[in-house]
Symmetry: C2
Subunit: 254 residues, 2 copies
């Protein structure tokens, strides 16, 4: 892991860009003035639009994580941003756009081609990033995942034991394989759904939520379209991570 730049944000957050092999990433940690005990880590997922495009939203989420006593980190997805293009992924995106423009159904084949190769590549990369990040001083476990591409979050939640809680955003296409993997997820989940999301199949999101095997899972549906997640939803997600990563609390009935 090579740190390539470092700056202090105005709220005392230390932001460091890094590369892990050829994968760029960003790490946000409490500044030097903070207590030096290791803090839990939240891995921030994002859609495949490139870290540069996603930066304003990512840094806002990261600031909140650090304010709550966590470290936050994110890495570039395969084929996104400045990483080498994946022609097969680009082809799948072109097929998707063509189908949507033509008013045709988005077939399972298109969704599988769009999502599954991304998951197959992104999940091992995220796990390798955890190996490195958790070896840094002042970053401890446990790890939370706060999601972008939901199939990546589901696979990580199913296979990565260091991730003990996940906040998933039901806002992207879901391959059939993801439903099968959801049945193997048992960690606490906080699932966000934009009820009138123009890019999302609401019923698929509800079915996916139903499929998770987690004893503790909750679904939070809001109005406002794909990017209209309200401020209060961010608050609730932050409280979810505090309960599970810092207080180790299991939910009890009120």
């Amino acid at each position: 892991m090579d740190f390539t730049s470092e700056r202090h944000l105005d709220d005392g957050v230390l932001e460091r860009a890094f590369t892990l092999g050829e994968i760029p990433g960003i790490l946000w940690t409490p500044g030097a003035a903070s207590a030096s005990a290791p803090v839990p880590l939240i891995l921030l997922g994002h859609p495949p639009l490139g870290l540069r495009t996603m930066y304003p939203r990512l840094v806002a989420r990261a600031r909140r994580c650090v304010a709550d006593g966590f470290a936050a980190a994110t890495i570039e997805l395969p084929g996104s941003g400045e990483r080498p293009a994946r022609p097969a992924l680009d082809q799948a995106r072109a097929d998707l756009r063509r189908a949507v423009r033509a008013g045709e159904p988005v077939t399972e084949e298109i969704i599988d081609a769009l999502v599954l190769p991304l998951v197959d590549e992104a999940v091992p990369e995220a796990r390798a990033a955890l190996d490195t990040l958790l070896a840094l001083p002042r970053i401890g476990g446990p790890v939370g995942y706060s999601g972008g591409v939901i199939s990546v979050g589901v696979r990580l939640a199913a296979v990565e034991p260091r991730i003990v809680a996940a906040c998933l955003f039901a806002g992207s296409f879901v391959p059939r394989a993801t439903f099968e993997e959801a049945r193997r997820v048992t960690i606490p989940l906080h699932v966000l759904l934009q009820w009138d999301d123009e890019h999302n199949d609401r019923q698929a999101s509800l079915d996916l939520f139903d499929a998770f095997a987690s004893a503790e899972k909750s679904l939070h549906a809001h109005m406002g379209g794909h990017t209209g997640v309200p401020h209060s939803a961010g608050e609730a997600a932050a409280q979810f991570f505090t309960r599970h990563l810092k207080e180790g609390r299991t939910e009890t009935a009120a």
Copy 2:
């Protein structure tokens, strides 16, 4: 309105039983040591099991309301507790139990007979109670409704302009008429759904949520059966009322 008893709870909450005509009720307000500015009111709904049976849950909800700077009040439902029996309601409940025990479908006729007369009687009573409660010193507007029987909450949200925000519990049978009334509801809503509620039709709850015309509505689904609403869900509902009754905030995207 006659106050029939009064006691101070250990957290400084003043609890007063009252009768409004023949309707018993309970009012919880900040104790004398608190600031004397008028506080908003939250009307606590409950299932038709009688105030005495519901008291432990009601007082817990009321304590939280008062701690957050609200007054809370509840009145007995028609035909419940010590109020005169409603033979038609008792008959509808018997029909419901018989259908459920026999494994037969709960028909629209049974649901209408069970719920609609209750709504027709309970809603004007709740509105009359608001007239009286809001005339008390130290209780001001606006009013929130925190729900028991969802059809009562929907009707109140649709017709009572003093109620500016409602937290509804999707945990009871929903007559077709309630879906029609839902389309007239425009106030901010926070809807709770127990995902695996043995007493609830999940799809009907989702359809009802979809029907509300409110620009700001959110659905929060949790695991745990009918009475297993987790502690965090109570926190989120309390924050919803603080936003809408005290801060007058409309939600903005995060």
